[in-house]
């Protein structure tokens, strides 16, 4: 178990260094960043697939369905990332946004939300009304804060309505996921499964943060292939991969 943590740690440090010193190799970084997102998203799908293989029994069981939905969600994200890679590296479109890739990336949030909901609902009765209210209030406050931060830069651009909707959709949907994932973390925090849920939360947080920054930088015209915010996405996928691996090991 320690080995996988070590490998992930080394991978994250390596990726961070790669992005920190990108000024020395901008062209390579643009290529690497666009290609690596598909690779790591694919690896996360495989990790989730192993979990599905272990926990799947039949569609009527909530636990089985939760794992099917996790895998479907990650698979849709992988397709989205692969399309992004195709657009940038094969078709030569520098920033394919919004595009068909976003259709898959945004669709992935639906099964992922269902997965989190199904899993948490099994154990939800241990959460008090107070905790549920606090969690919901925090999510609403965060959503208002993120929207508030993005509203001026996004609305101030001449972007079309679709771009604006997509700009807001990513961080808001991310926060919706986070609001459920936090409940999972609270339930399992003191158990071995807490590690897996902490990683899921960290992954969603990084992903949401990355998308909020992406919306901001694209609206300001400062985003470029290999931008450091891609590090957030990459680490988020590493965390997803690790979360599912840890889950298999702990249950």
């Amino acid at each position: 178990m320690l080995t996988i943590y070590k490998i992930s740690f080394i991978l994250i440090i390596g990726l961070t260094l790669l992005y920190v010193f990108q000024g020395y190799y901008p062209e390579f970084m643009s290529f690497f960043s666009n290609a690596f997102s598909s690779v790591i998203a694919g690896a996360a799908v495989i990790s989730s697939g192993f979990s599905l293989d272990k926990y799947w029994h039949k569609a009527k069981e909530r636990f089985s369905m939760a794992w099917l939905c996790f895998t479907c969600g990650l698979f849709l994200w992988f397709v989205g990332e692969a399309l992004w890679t195709g657009y940038t590296l094969v078709l030569g479109i520098e920033i394919p946004y919004p595009s068909l890739a976003d259709v898959f990336l945004l669709s992935g949030y639906v099964p992922f939300f269902v997965a989190l909901y199904l899993y948490v609902e099994i154990f939800g009765s241990v959460l008090s009304q107070r905790i549920l209210t606090i969690s919901l209030a925090m999510s609403v406050i965060l959503a208002i804060f993120v929207s508030g931060v993005l509203i001026a830069p996004v609305m101030g651009t001449e972007a079309d309505l679709t771009t604006m909707v997509v700009d807001f959709a990513y961080p808001i949907l991310g926060l919706v996921l986070l609001s459920v994932a936090v409940l999972g973390l609270l339930i399992f925090l003191k158990g071995n499964l807490g590690k897996s849920w902490a990683l899921i939360n960290a992954a969603i947080l990084l992903n949401t943060w990355g998308h909020a920054l992406f919306s901001y930088t694209t609206s300001q015209g400062t985003y470029y292939g290999g931008h450091p915010i891609n590090l957030l996405y990459a680490v988020a996928y590493v965390f997803f991969l690790l979360a599912f691996y840890v889950h298999i090991k702990e249950l």
Partner: protein
């Protein structure tokens, strides 16, 4: 070959644990048994003999979430024994088990 004999209560508890763990579905149940053996050297057949180790084990895995499984097992146990389950403040899994055992003994008398 050694033949283990169990009291009727333990038999019912064994079934109740099996049923209660189905909260996680069949595969989840098997996973829990597998990890209980690894974490606390608790075999599936020994769960009803060592319920305190079982509780410790599932709390180690699920944290507070274990309460859901414990409640499901207790409800299943009470139903199987024909007892009325009533939630009591500050009562844990083992306390419910002891109550059920005592109530069953009292009924038999």
């Amino acid at each position: 070959m050694l033949v283990e004999t169990k009291s009727p209560f333990k038999d019912v508890l064994f079934e109740a644990v099996d049923e209660g763990l189905l909260t996680l579905g069949e595969s989840g149940k098997e996973a829990v048994y597998f990890h209980l053996q690894n974490l606390c050297s608790l075999r599936r057949v020994d769960v009803s003999d060592r319920p305190e180790i079982f509780v410790e084990g599932i709390r180690k895995i699920f944290g507070v979430g274990a309460e859901v499984i414990e409640r499901s097992i207790v409800m299943s146990l009470y139903r199987k024994l024909g007892l009325k389950y009533k939630e009591k403040e500050g009562y844990g899994f083992l306390a419910y088990l002891n109550d059920a055992k005592e109530m069953k003994v009292r009924r038999l008398k």
